[in-house]
Protein backbone atom coordinates (compact mmCIF):
# COMPACT_ATOMS: atom_id res chain seq x y z
CA UNK A 1 0.00 0.00 0.00
CA UNK A 2 1.31 3.45 -0.88
CA UNK A 3 1.32 5.75 2.13
CA UNK A 4 1.65 9.50 2.01
CA UNK A 5 4.09 10.91 4.50
CA UNK A 6 3.45 14.21 6.22
CA UNK A 7 6.56 15.60 7.87
CA UNK A 8 5.16 19.09 8.27
CA UNK A 9 3.24 18.37 11.46
CA UNK A 10 0.27 20.02 9.82
CA UNK A 11 -3.10 18.57 10.76
CA UNK A 12 -5.69 17.84 8.08
CA UNK A 13 -9.04 19.46 8.83
CA UNK A 14 -11.88 17.09 8.12
CA UNK A 15 -14.24 18.12 5.38
CA UNK A 16 -17.29 17.74 7.61
CA UNK A 17 -15.87 20.46 9.85
CA UNK A 18 -15.85 23.01 7.06
CA UNK A 19 -19.09 24.19 5.52
CA UNK A 20 -18.86 26.83 2.86
CA UNK A 21 -21.87 28.29 1.13
CA UNK A 22 -22.00 30.77 -1.66
CA UNK A 23 -24.78 33.11 -2.66
CA UNK A 24 -25.16 35.15 -5.80
CA UNK A 25 -26.87 38.50 -5.64
CA UNK A 26 -26.69 41.70 -7.70
CA UNK A 27 -23.99 40.23 -9.90
CA UNK A 28 -21.68 39.52 -6.96
CA UNK A 29 -20.68 36.21 -5.42
CA UNK A 30 -20.44 36.12 -1.64
CA UNK A 31 -19.57 33.24 0.64
CA UNK A 32 -20.13 32.21 4.19
CA UNK A 33 -18.09 29.68 6.13
CA UNK A 34 -18.91 27.65 9.21
CA UNK A 35 -15.81 26.13 10.75
CA UNK A 36 -15.73 23.65 13.60
CA UNK A 37 -12.13 23.42 14.78
CA UNK A 38 -12.87 22.20 18.28
CA UNK A 39 -11.54 18.68 17.90
CA UNK A 40 -8.06 19.63 16.65
CA UNK A 41 -6.60 20.91 19.87
CA UNK A 42 -5.19 24.00 18.18
CA UNK A 43 -3.77 26.94 20.15
CA UNK A 44 -6.45 29.52 20.89
CA UNK A 45 -4.35 32.34 19.49
CA UNK A 46 -3.69 30.60 16.15
CA UNK A 47 -5.03 32.60 13.23
CA UNK A 48 -7.69 31.27 10.87
CA UNK A 49 -7.79 32.20 7.20
CA UNK A 50 -10.20 31.20 4.47
CA UNK A 51 -8.79 31.47 0.96
CA UNK A 52 -10.80 31.39 -2.27
CA UNK A 53 -9.17 30.54 -5.56
CA UNK A 54 -9.89 29.85 -9.19
CA UNK A 55 -7.38 30.02 -12.04
CA UNK A 56 -5.06 32.87 -11.01
CA UNK A 57 -7.67 34.44 -8.72
CA UNK A 58 -6.76 34.10 -5.05
CA UNK A 59 -8.25 35.95 -2.14
CA UNK A 60 -7.67 35.63 1.56
CA UNK A 61 -10.17 36.36 4.33
CA UNK A 62 -9.24 36.73 7.97
CA UNK A 63 -11.55 34.69 10.21
CA UNK A 64 -9.99 35.73 13.51
CA UNK A 65 -8.37 33.18 15.77
CA UNK A 66 -9.24 29.67 16.91
CA UNK A 67 -10.22 31.00 20.34
CA UNK A 68 -11.99 34.11 19.08
CA UNK A 69 -13.41 33.42 15.64
CA UNK A 70 -14.61 36.47 13.76
CA UNK A 71 -16.02 36.55 10.26
CA UNK A 72 -15.05 39.50 8.12
CA UNK A 73 -18.02 41.63 7.02
CA UNK A 74 -16.86 41.73 3.43
CA UNK A 75 -16.95 38.20 2.05
CA UNK A 76 -17.52 39.09 -1.58
CA UNK A 77 -15.25 37.36 -4.09
CA UNK A 78 -13.54 40.03 -6.12
CA UNK A 79 -13.43 39.58 -9.91
CA UNK A 80 -15.85 36.66 -9.65
CA UNK A 81 -19.30 36.90 -11.20
CA UNK A 82 -20.24 33.23 -11.23
CA UNK A 83 -19.16 30.64 -8.68
CA UNK A 84 -18.26 27.97 -11.26
CA UNK A 85 -14.96 26.37 -10.40
CA UNK A 86 -14.25 28.41 -7.26
CA UNK A 87 -12.61 26.37 -4.49
CA UNK A 88 -11.68 27.20 -0.93
CA UNK A 89 -8.89 26.47 1.49
CA UNK A 90 -9.01 26.83 5.26
CA UNK A 91 -5.66 27.49 6.86
CA UNK A 92 -4.86 27.70 10.56
CA UNK A 93 -1.56 29.50 11.07
CA UNK A 94 0.44 29.97 14.24
CA UNK A 95 0.43 33.48 15.61
CA UNK A 96 4.17 33.93 15.33
CA UNK A 97 5.88 36.68 17.25
CA UNK A 98 7.10 39.58 15.14
CA UNK A 99 10.77 40.14 14.44
CA UNK A 100 13.19 39.85 11.57
CA UNK A 101 15.06 36.84 12.92
CA UNK A 102 11.99 34.80 13.70
CA UNK A 103 10.95 32.12 11.23
CA UNK A 104 7.67 32.68 9.38
CA UNK A 105 4.38 31.51 10.81
CA UNK A 106 3.87 27.78 10.55
CA UNK A 107 0.72 26.24 9.08
CA UNK A 108 -0.89 24.20 11.85
CA UNK A 109 -3.94 22.80 10.10
CA UNK A 110 -5.31 22.79 6.60
CA UNK A 111 -8.31 21.83 4.50
CA UNK A 112 -7.92 22.31 0.75
CA UNK A 113 -9.90 21.97 -2.47
CA UNK A 114 -13.21 22.56 -0.77
CA UNK A 115 -16.01 23.08 -3.19
CA UNK A 116 -18.77 25.28 -1.83
CA UNK A 117 -22.46 24.65 -1.76
CA UNK A 118 -24.47 27.02 -3.86
CA UNK A 119 -27.48 28.16 -1.86
CA UNK A 120 -29.19 29.18 -5.07
CA UNK A 121 -29.13 25.70 -6.53
CA UNK A 122 -29.22 23.97 -3.13
CA UNK A 123 -27.13 21.14 -4.45
CA UNK A 124 -23.67 20.01 -3.54
CA UNK A 125 -21.07 20.18 -6.26
CA UNK A 126 -20.52 16.96 -8.14
CA UNK A 127 -17.60 14.67 -7.37
CA UNK A 128 -16.91 14.63 -11.08
CA UNK A 129 -16.61 18.03 -12.77
CA UNK A 130 -17.43 18.12 -16.47
CA UNK A 131 -15.94 20.34 -19.12
CA UNK A 132 -15.44 20.37 -22.83
CA UNK A 133 -12.32 19.09 -24.52
CA UNK A 134 -10.96 19.12 -28.02
CA UNK A 135 -11.15 15.88 -29.91
CA UNK A 136 -12.62 15.11 -33.25
CA UNK A 137 -12.33 11.38 -32.67
CA UNK A 138 -13.37 10.64 -29.10
CA UNK A 139 -16.71 11.67 -27.59
CA UNK A 140 -15.73 11.58 -23.92
CA UNK A 141 -12.76 10.77 -21.75
CA UNK A 142 -11.69 11.10 -18.14
CA UNK A 143 -8.64 13.21 -17.45
CA UNK A 144 -6.52 12.51 -14.39
CA UNK A 145 -4.00 15.00 -13.09
CA UNK A 146 -2.82 15.86 -9.59
CA UNK A 147 -6.28 17.14 -8.92
CA UNK A 148 -9.61 15.35 -9.05
CA UNK A 149 -10.65 13.58 -12.26
CA UNK A 150 -12.35 15.64 -14.91
CA UNK A 151 -14.86 14.29 -17.42
CA UNK A 152 -14.31 15.86 -20.82
CA UNK A 153 -16.85 15.94 -23.61
CA UNK A 154 -15.69 16.73 -27.12
CA UNK A 155 -16.95 20.16 -28.10
CA UNK A 156 -16.32 19.24 -31.72
CA UNK A 157 -18.60 16.22 -31.66
CA UNK A 158 -21.20 17.33 -29.10
CA UNK A 159 -22.75 20.79 -29.21
CA UNK A 160 -24.82 20.68 -25.99
CA UNK A 161 -22.30 19.01 -23.69
CA UNK A 162 -24.16 19.89 -20.48
CA UNK A 163 -27.31 18.23 -21.76
CA UNK A 164 -25.35 15.34 -23.23
CA UNK A 165 -24.07 14.03 -19.89
CA UNK A 166 -27.61 13.80 -18.52
CA UNK A 167 -29.04 11.90 -21.48
CA UNK A 168 -30.24 8.37 -20.61
CA UNK A 169 -27.90 6.98 -23.26
CA UNK A 170 -24.83 8.53 -21.66
CA UNK A 171 -25.91 7.73 -18.11
CA UNK A 172 -26.61 4.08 -18.83
CA UNK A 173 -23.73 3.29 -21.16
CA UNK A 174 -20.91 5.54 -20.08
CA UNK A 175 -21.34 6.39 -16.41
CA UNK A 176 -20.70 2.91 -14.92
CA UNK A 177 -17.48 2.62 -16.93
CA UNK A 178 -16.40 6.08 -15.84
CA UNK A 179 -16.95 5.03 -12.24
CA UNK A 180 -14.98 1.83 -12.84
CA UNK A 181 -12.09 3.72 -14.45
CA UNK A 182 -11.87 6.11 -11.51
CA UNK A 183 -11.87 3.32 -8.93
CA UNK A 184 -9.28 1.40 -10.94
CA UNK A 185 -7.11 4.47 -11.13
CA UNK A 186 -7.34 5.13 -7.40
CA UNK A 187 -6.87 1.58 -6.18
CA UNK A 188 -4.83 -0.30 -8.72
CA UNK A 189 -2.73 2.43 -10.33
CA UNK A 190 -2.23 4.92 -7.51
CA UNK A 191 -2.64 2.21 -4.84
CA UNK A 192 -4.52 4.57 -2.60
CA UNK A 193 -6.84 2.87 -0.08
CA UNK A 194 -7.10 5.56 2.59
CA UNK A 195 -10.67 6.78 3.11
CA UNK A 196 -10.00 9.20 5.95
CA UNK A 197 -8.14 12.01 4.24
CA UNK A 198 -11.05 14.27 3.39
CA UNK A 199 -8.76 16.63 1.49
CA UNK A 200 -7.80 13.96 -0.97
CA UNK A 201 -10.13 13.44 -3.93
CA UNK A 202 -9.28 9.73 -3.95
CA UNK A 203 -10.47 9.29 -0.36
CA UNK A 204 -13.68 11.14 -1.18
CA UNK A 205 -14.38 8.81 -4.10
CA UNK A 206 -13.68 5.76 -1.93
CA UNK A 207 -16.04 7.06 0.74
CA UNK A 208 -18.69 7.58 -1.88
CA UNK A 209 -18.14 4.05 -3.19
CA UNK A 210 -18.24 2.44 0.26
CA UNK A 211 -21.47 4.29 1.11
CA UNK A 212 -23.38 2.74 -1.80
CA UNK A 213 -25.98 0.23 -0.58
CA UNK A 214 -24.84 -3.36 -0.92
CA UNK A 215 -21.14 -2.67 -1.37
CA UNK A 216 -19.10 -5.35 0.40
CA UNK A 217 -16.46 -4.38 2.94
CA UNK A 218 -13.25 -3.72 0.99
CA UNK A 219 -10.20 -5.94 1.59
CA UNK A 220 -8.14 -4.79 4.58
CA UNK A 221 -5.01 -3.84 2.71
CA UNK A 222 -3.61 -3.69 -0.80
CA UNK A 223 -0.69 -5.96 -1.58
CA UNK A 224 0.67 -7.60 -4.71
CA UNK A 225 -1.08 -10.80 -3.67
CA UNK A 226 -4.59 -9.47 -3.25
CA UNK A 227 -5.00 -7.23 -6.28
CA UNK A 228 -7.51 -9.76 -7.61
CA UNK A 229 -9.66 -9.25 -4.52
CA UNK A 230 -9.62 -5.51 -5.14
CA UNK A 231 -10.60 -6.04 -8.77
CA UNK A 232 -13.56 -8.09 -7.55
CA UNK A 233 -14.43 -5.34 -5.09
CA UNK A 234 -14.38 -2.74 -7.86
CA UNK A 235 -16.65 -4.96 -9.94
CA UNK A 236 -19.13 -5.38 -7.06
CA UNK A 237 -19.04 -1.65 -6.34
CA UNK A 238 -19.82 -0.73 -9.94
CA UNK A 239 -22.73 -3.19 -9.83
CA UNK A 240 -24.00 -1.51 -6.66
CA UNK A 241 -23.69 1.86 -8.39
CA UNK A 242 -25.76 0.58 -11.31
CA UNK A 243 -28.44 -0.72 -8.93
CA UNK A 244 -28.51 2.56 -7.07
CA UNK A 245 -28.82 4.65 -10.22
CA UNK A 246 -31.33 2.18 -11.73
CA UNK A 247 -29.28 1.75 -14.87
CA UNK A 248 -31.31 -1.26 -16.02
CA UNK A 249 -34.65 0.55 -15.75
CA UNK A 250 -33.27 3.64 -17.48
CA UNK A 251 -31.95 1.53 -20.33
CA UNK A 252 -35.38 -0.09 -20.66
CA UNK A 253 -37.01 3.34 -20.92
CA UNK A 254 -34.90 4.75 -23.69
CA UNK A 255 -34.78 1.52 -25.64
CA UNK A 256 -38.58 1.39 -25.45
CA UNK A 257 -38.84 5.00 -26.62
CA UNK A 258 -36.64 4.16 -29.57
CA UNK A 259 -38.87 1.27 -30.61
Amino acid sequence: MMRRLNFTGRRPIRREDVKIHITEADGAVRFDAELDLGRYNLPAHARVFVEAYRQTMWQRFDFGTVGAPCKPDDRVLRDVRSPDGVKFRVKVVENAPAGASVRPAKILALADQIRPRNLKSRTAQSLLPVDTGDSKDQIWWVEFGDDEPLLRISSTLVSDWRGFVTTPEFVTLALPEIFRSILTRILLIEEHVDRDDAQDWRSRWLRFACALPGVPEPPADLTDDNRGEWMDWIHETVRAFCRRTRIGARLGHWRKEEE
Binding site: E51, Q55, G85, D134, S155
Partner: protein, 242 residues
Protein backbone atom coordinates in the same frame (compact mmCIF):
# COMPACT_ATOMS: atom_id res chain seq x y z
CA UNK B 1 -5.36 52.01 -36.34
CA UNK B 2 -8.17 49.71 -37.39
CA UNK B 3 -10.73 48.88 -34.73
CA UNK B 4 -13.20 46.04 -34.92
CA UNK B 5 -16.00 45.02 -32.62
CA UNK B 6 -15.09 42.20 -30.25
CA UNK B 7 -17.20 39.06 -30.73
CA UNK B 8 -17.10 35.52 -29.46
CA UNK B 9 -16.90 32.41 -31.59
CA UNK B 10 -19.80 30.02 -31.09
CA UNK B 11 -19.42 26.23 -31.11
CA UNK B 12 -19.57 26.14 -34.88
CA UNK B 13 -16.96 28.88 -35.11
CA UNK B 14 -14.63 27.07 -32.74
CA UNK B 15 -15.09 23.84 -34.69
CA UNK B 16 -14.21 25.69 -37.90
CA UNK B 17 -11.18 27.25 -36.21
CA UNK B 18 -10.13 23.77 -35.07
CA UNK B 19 -10.34 22.46 -38.64
CA UNK B 20 -8.19 25.32 -39.84
CA UNK B 21 -5.56 24.73 -37.14
CA UNK B 22 -5.51 21.01 -37.93
CA UNK B 23 -5.00 21.77 -41.60
CA UNK B 24 -1.82 23.68 -40.84
CA UNK B 25 -0.03 20.51 -39.84
CA UNK B 26 -1.44 18.51 -42.75
CA UNK B 27 -0.68 18.35 -46.45
CA UNK B 28 -3.03 21.12 -47.53
CA UNK B 29 -2.95 24.02 -45.11
CA UNK B 30 -5.97 26.31 -45.36
CA UNK B 31 -6.06 30.09 -45.38
CA UNK B 32 -6.95 31.73 -42.08
CA UNK B 33 -10.77 31.77 -42.06
CA UNK B 34 -11.11 35.38 -40.96
CA UNK B 35 -14.68 35.56 -42.17
CA UNK B 36 -15.80 33.46 -39.21
CA UNK B 37 -14.93 36.39 -36.93
CA UNK B 38 -17.99 38.29 -38.12
CA UNK B 39 -20.17 35.67 -39.79
CA UNK B 40 -23.40 35.34 -37.80
CA UNK B 41 -23.30 31.55 -38.16
CA UNK B 42 -19.93 31.24 -36.47
CA UNK B 43 -19.69 34.21 -34.13
CA UNK B 44 -21.91 36.13 -31.73
CA UNK B 45 -22.00 39.73 -30.62
CA UNK B 46 -21.26 40.49 -26.98
CA UNK B 47 -23.80 42.17 -24.70
CA UNK B 48 -21.67 45.31 -24.69
CA UNK B 49 -19.74 46.92 -27.52
CA UNK B 50 -15.97 46.63 -27.14
CA UNK B 51 -13.61 47.81 -29.87
CA UNK B 52 -10.31 46.00 -30.44
CA UNK B 53 -7.32 47.20 -32.42
CA UNK B 54 -6.94 44.62 -35.13
CA UNK B 55 -3.46 45.73 -36.21
CA UNK B 56 -2.04 46.10 -32.71
CA UNK B 57 1.39 44.47 -32.35
CA UNK B 58 2.59 43.14 -29.01
CA UNK B 59 6.36 42.83 -28.56
CA UNK B 60 5.98 40.64 -25.45
CA UNK B 61 3.31 38.83 -23.46
CA UNK B 62 3.40 41.71 -21.02
CA UNK B 63 2.15 44.30 -23.54
CA UNK B 64 -0.60 41.95 -24.72
CA UNK B 65 -1.72 41.39 -21.13
CA UNK B 66 -1.65 45.10 -20.38
CA UNK B 67 -3.69 45.95 -23.46
CA UNK B 68 -6.28 43.23 -22.80
CA UNK B 69 -6.57 44.12 -19.15
CA UNK B 70 -7.22 47.78 -19.93
CA UNK B 71 -9.66 46.82 -22.66
CA UNK B 72 -11.68 44.28 -20.71
CA UNK B 73 -11.60 45.76 -17.23
CA UNK B 74 -13.08 49.00 -18.53
CA UNK B 75 -15.89 47.15 -20.31
CA UNK B 76 -18.98 45.91 -18.55
CA UNK B 77 -18.33 42.33 -19.66
CA UNK B 78 -19.20 39.71 -17.05
CA UNK B 79 -16.29 37.37 -16.38
CA UNK B 80 -14.59 37.53 -19.78
CA UNK B 81 -12.03 35.04 -18.48
CA UNK B 82 -14.72 32.32 -18.48
CA UNK B 83 -15.71 32.91 -22.09
CA UNK B 84 -13.90 30.39 -24.34
CA UNK B 85 -15.39 31.81 -27.51
CA UNK B 86 -14.14 35.31 -26.76
CA UNK B 87 -10.53 34.17 -26.31
CA UNK B 88 -10.71 31.94 -29.37
CA UNK B 89 -11.99 34.95 -31.33
CA UNK B 90 -9.14 37.17 -30.14
CA UNK B 91 -6.55 34.50 -30.93
CA UNK B 92 -7.90 34.18 -34.45
CA UNK B 93 -7.99 37.97 -34.87
CA UNK B 94 -4.26 38.17 -34.18
CA UNK B 95 -3.43 34.84 -35.77
CA UNK B 96 -0.52 36.19 -37.83
CA UNK B 97 1.43 37.47 -34.86
CA UNK B 98 0.59 34.46 -32.68
CA UNK B 99 1.62 31.95 -35.31
CA UNK B 100 4.06 33.51 -37.78
CA UNK B 101 5.45 31.31 -40.56
CA UNK B 102 8.91 29.85 -40.01
CA UNK B 103 11.78 30.10 -42.51
CA UNK B 104 10.21 27.46 -44.70
CA UNK B 105 6.89 29.26 -44.68
CA UNK B 106 5.26 26.68 -42.44
CA UNK B 107 3.09 27.64 -39.48
CA UNK B 108 3.13 25.50 -36.33
CA UNK B 109 0.03 26.23 -34.27
CA UNK B 110 0.87 23.81 -31.45
CA UNK B 111 -1.51 22.61 -28.84
CA UNK B 112 -5.19 23.45 -29.34
CA UNK B 113 -5.36 24.89 -25.81
CA UNK B 114 -3.15 27.76 -27.02
CA UNK B 115 -6.00 28.86 -29.28
CA UNK B 116 -9.22 27.75 -27.60
CA UNK B 117 -8.74 27.84 -23.83
CA UNK B 118 -9.59 24.90 -21.60
CA UNK B 119 -11.16 27.11 -18.99
CA UNK B 120 -11.86 24.53 -16.28
CA UNK B 121 -8.57 22.67 -16.46
CA UNK B 122 -6.18 24.08 -13.84
CA UNK B 123 -3.18 22.59 -15.67
CA UNK B 124 -4.07 23.88 -19.10
CA UNK B 125 -6.21 27.03 -19.04
CA UNK B 126 -3.15 29.30 -18.87
CA UNK B 127 -1.64 27.87 -22.04
CA UNK B 128 -3.86 30.11 -24.11
CA UNK B 129 -1.76 32.74 -25.87
CA UNK B 130 -3.77 35.64 -24.50
CA UNK B 131 -5.91 34.46 -21.59
CA UNK B 132 -2.94 33.27 -19.53
CA UNK B 133 -0.96 36.54 -19.64
CA UNK B 134 -4.18 38.52 -19.08
CA UNK B 135 -4.97 36.56 -15.91
CA UNK B 136 -1.43 36.91 -14.59
CA UNK B 137 -1.46 40.65 -15.21
CA UNK B 138 -4.83 41.05 -13.54
CA UNK B 139 -3.57 39.63 -10.26
CA UNK B 140 -1.16 42.54 -9.84
CA UNK B 141 -2.90 45.10 -12.01
CA UNK B 142 -2.29 47.77 -9.38
CA UNK B 143 1.43 47.09 -9.49
CA UNK B 144 1.99 45.33 -12.85
CA UNK B 145 5.79 45.69 -12.68
CA UNK B 146 5.70 42.69 -10.36
CA UNK B 147 4.62 40.34 -13.15
CA UNK B 148 6.83 41.78 -15.88
CA UNK B 149 9.63 39.24 -15.25
CA UNK B 150 7.34 36.34 -16.04
CA UNK B 151 5.71 37.95 -19.10
CA UNK B 152 8.87 38.95 -20.94
CA UNK B 153 8.77 36.55 -23.85
CA UNK B 154 7.10 37.18 -27.20
CA UNK B 155 3.65 35.68 -27.63
CA UNK B 156 4.69 33.11 -30.20
CA UNK B 157 7.42 31.54 -28.05
CA UNK B 158 7.19 28.70 -25.54
CA UNK B 159 5.98 29.43 -22.01
CA UNK B 160 8.79 30.01 -19.54
CA UNK B 161 9.28 27.86 -16.44
CA UNK B 162 8.65 30.86 -14.20
CA UNK B 163 5.37 31.59 -15.95
CA UNK B 164 4.11 28.00 -15.74
CA UNK B 165 5.05 27.60 -12.13
CA UNK B 166 3.52 30.84 -10.86
CA UNK B 167 0.32 30.33 -12.79
CA UNK B 168 -0.10 26.85 -11.37
CA UNK B 169 0.30 28.20 -7.81
CA UNK B 170 -2.26 31.02 -7.56
CA UNK B 171 -1.46 31.66 -3.91
CA UNK B 172 2.22 32.22 -4.73
CA UNK B 173 1.38 34.32 -7.78
CA UNK B 174 -0.80 36.48 -5.54
CA UNK B 175 2.01 36.90 -3.03
CA UNK B 176 3.77 40.24 -3.46
CA UNK B 177 6.71 38.81 -1.51
CA UNK B 178 7.17 35.92 -3.95
CA UNK B 179 6.76 38.03 -7.08
CA UNK B 180 8.95 40.74 -5.58
CA UNK B 181 11.65 38.17 -4.80
CA UNK B 182 11.57 36.83 -8.36
CA UNK B 183 11.96 40.35 -9.67
CA UNK B 184 14.79 41.17 -7.27
CA UNK B 185 16.69 37.96 -7.99
CA UNK B 186 16.29 37.57 -11.73
CA UNK B 187 15.17 40.76 -13.43
CA UNK B 188 17.64 43.23 -14.87
CA UNK B 189 16.02 46.65 -14.62
CA UNK B 190 18.44 48.15 -17.15
CA UNK B 191 17.92 45.70 -19.97
CA UNK B 192 14.40 44.72 -18.85
CA UNK B 193 15.34 41.11 -19.39
CA UNK B 194 16.00 38.14 -17.15
CA UNK B 195 19.57 37.88 -15.91
CA UNK B 196 21.84 35.33 -17.51
CA UNK B 197 21.51 31.87 -16.03
CA UNK B 198 18.10 32.56 -14.51
CA UNK B 199 16.46 29.94 -16.65
CA UNK B 200 19.12 27.27 -16.24
CA UNK B 201 18.64 24.17 -14.12
CA UNK B 202 21.51 25.01 -11.79
CA UNK B 203 21.73 26.42 -8.27
CA UNK B 204 20.05 29.76 -7.81
CA UNK B 205 17.93 29.39 -10.94
CA UNK B 206 14.21 30.13 -11.15
CA UNK B 207 13.60 26.41 -11.41
CA UNK B 208 15.39 25.85 -8.11
CA UNK B 209 13.53 28.75 -6.51
CA UNK B 210 10.19 27.27 -7.45
CA UNK B 211 11.17 23.96 -5.87
CA UNK B 212 12.29 25.67 -2.66
CA UNK B 213 9.21 27.87 -2.42
CA UNK B 214 6.87 24.96 -3.07
CA UNK B 215 8.51 23.19 -0.16
CA UNK B 216 8.38 26.22 2.14
CA UNK B 217 4.76 26.87 1.29
CA UNK B 218 3.77 23.45 2.62
CA UNK B 219 5.01 24.35 6.06
CA UNK B 220 4.96 28.12 6.37
CA UNK B 221 2.51 30.89 5.65
CA UNK B 222 4.43 32.87 3.07
CA UNK B 223 1.76 35.54 2.80
CA UNK B 224 2.77 37.09 6.09
CA UNK B 225 6.27 37.88 4.77
CA UNK B 226 7.87 40.90 3.14
CA UNK B 227 10.18 40.56 0.13
CA UNK B 228 13.24 41.17 2.33
CA UNK B 229 12.17 38.57 4.88
CA UNK B 230 11.52 36.01 2.17
CA UNK B 231 14.93 36.63 0.60
CA UNK B 232 16.56 36.14 4.01
CA UNK B 233 14.75 32.87 4.38
CA UNK B 234 16.04 31.42 1.12
CA UNK B 235 19.19 29.25 0.99
CA UNK B 236 22.53 30.87 0.12
CA UNK B 237 22.29 29.99 -3.56
CA UNK B 238 19.69 32.76 -3.90
CA UNK B 239 21.37 36.06 -3.43
CA UNK B 240 19.98 39.26 -4.95
CA UNK B 241 22.62 41.23 -6.90
CA UNK B 242 23.69 44.39 -5.12
Amino acid sequence: MKRVELHRLNDQGMARMGEFLDSLTGDSPQQCPRSILTDGRTSESLPVKVLVEEDRVFPRRYEAAEYLYNLLSSSALREPERDRGLWAWLALLWFDQLCPPDKTGQRKPGDRARWIPEIANPRRYYRHFLLGPYLVYRVHARCPDLVEPILLSPLDTALSEAYKWTVESPSLLASEAVMGAIKRLYFDEKTRRLRRGSQSKGPGSIRRLTAVLNQLERTFDLHSLSVERLLQLLPREFRAPA
